[in-house]
Amino acid sequence: MYAYDEIDRTLVNERVSEFRDQVKRRLSGELTEDEFKMLRLQNGVYLQLHAYMFRVAIPYGTLASNQLRQLAHVARKYDRGYGHFTTRQNIQFNWIKLSDLPDALADLAEVGIHAMQTSGNNMRNVTSDQWAGVAPGEIEDPRIWSELIRQHTTLHPEFSFLPRKFKIAITASDHDRAAIKVHDIGLRLIKNEKGETGFEVLVGGGLGRTPFIGKTIKHFVHGRDLLSYIEAILRVYNQYGRRDNIYKARIKILVHELGIEKFSREVEEEWQQIRHSSLQIDDEVIEDIRSRFIYPSYEKLPHMPDELRQAAADPDFEAWRKNSVAAHKNPGYAIVTISLKPIGAPPGDATAEQMDALADLADKYSFGEIRVGHEQNLALPHVAKRDLPALWKALDKLGLATPNVNLITDIIACPGLDYCSLANARSIPIAQELTRRFANHELANLIGRLHINISGCINACGHHHVGHIGILGVEKNGEEVYQITIGGRADESAALGNLIGPGVKFHEVADVIEDIVEAYLALRERPDELFVDTVKRLGVEPFKERVYATR
């Protein structure tokens, strides 16, 4: 948990009253939509098909229970009683009225939540591992550095008018849960031989129309130089970045066009000039931020308590535990992932009642803290192992204990044509149908880890390029058609998937995915060879044959 200081609070409150005034002037006609559009985007307000959409930042995915309750309140009072957790550690409300937005923002500001940097061509909300601070083997809490970058770049003029939006992600674990290779800048926290903290810096990753996996630009940047190095990257980007063509304005295109060698030389030159400036970070600054992160006072608890031993006799509990419970750096505790992917439901949605109940469970079992991950699930980061059985029962009552985390029904999907004005095709009904096809838990378990990602257009909000199976909706002669890729992944071995062949129609998608999965089950060498590894070993061909032989 992070305690905001006075400066942040004042800033957030000022933004709310500023926006209240802007909305008033918009509704009276004093501001035209052209003038207002940028102002609303700066406050997270988009227009979708049926209504305005309001995107709220959850910095590094860390939420306090009172904040989650306030999100529930906003969902209930100004929206239709639910919210949608996204792949960028945001929550979105889909039905909000412009005239209610200032009040909604004010209510959120009461608990230190805001919508700054969730849209527009600026530095976006810095994302991080949702298990930051609790993952075993983590080198250091990456959120301290996310926060440093956030403070430095929030509303900084140089970062508010970039050629395009800009996204940074940080991880400090071997297993990359923050997808750093598909961000504009990816940072991997590491230690050098002297034991000093620094970062491997990757640049130029991104999905969308032209997907790229980020490349390492520097193997070690000392922690104290992090801001100057990022600034150097941004200066080179600002200098060359194409503002004339939004499709070419992202840093990934620039890195691709200049080449990583030339790009890194330019950055290096720029960096040498500013490295020893005021951008150098004092240890005190880091310590000050560190001191604002409040860590729970853990008890010394048994690694294998009786409660857990007894509950293991219940196969339903075991099925849930195996998928949803992960090791914690403190052996008496566990990290519990809360699946927002019930069979047949839209991925990532949570009702106001669920949010309230979850806030209560967080108070009771997780030191009042909740995490939001990029897989559109939530987590309770500090659950004593002895409490797992009781927590499971409570979650099950709320419909929040679907035992499918990381399995084929744990699907990431963007809003698609049901909500989004940019969409070519629907995403959510495809996800829903797939969860029904693979609803059988034994089958899903037999298949093992398999990530399906669905986007309703080339903007790739559903990260389809890096799904083990990626589904992209396109439009052909007025009909929804879906292109299917396999072999993508978003982790430390990030890769883009390969197309298996011509697009298929809406009603065929689930059949095709079933064919692909059957082919995998027949082709894998061992039960623990993951789908992506089988695809890597054999290539696309055998899957393609299977899918198109009869079509």
Partner: protein, 102 residues
């Protein structure tokens, strides 16, 4: 359904002008009475590019009423009933094709 905001003005058959109402964002259609209605049945129908352009120009001028106006295809059946011309417009008229969580 390439977003109509990215399309050129080309109309074949009957069309309407649609937008989102400024204060609450709901889907509205331009009426013959120079207003906006949430009911597609009340939309003004245009059949030629010139008519469409004129209706769109009038809608664009009413920036306080509704935002992002564009020309959308419709079908008018034998009884004169106006139907959405594609899936996107059908979803805009009828709402999401899925059950909401609440």
């Amino acid at each position: 359904m390439t977003s109509p905001l990215q399309q050129k003005l080309k109309i074949n058959g009957s069309s309407v002008v649609t937008a989102n109402r400024t204060w609450d964002g709901i889907v509205v259609y331009r009426t013959a009475a120079k207003g906006w209605s949430a009911d597609l049945a009340e939309a003004a129908i245009v059949r030629t590019p010139d008519e469409a352009k004129a209706l769109l120009a009038e809608a664009v001028a009413d920036d306080v009423g509704a935002i992002g106006p564009y020309i959308a295809p419709v079908q008018v059946d034998d009884t004169g009933k106006i139907l959405p011309g594609n899936l996107r417009e059908q979803i805009r008229r009828d709402g999401v094709t899925i059950d909401l969580p609440v």
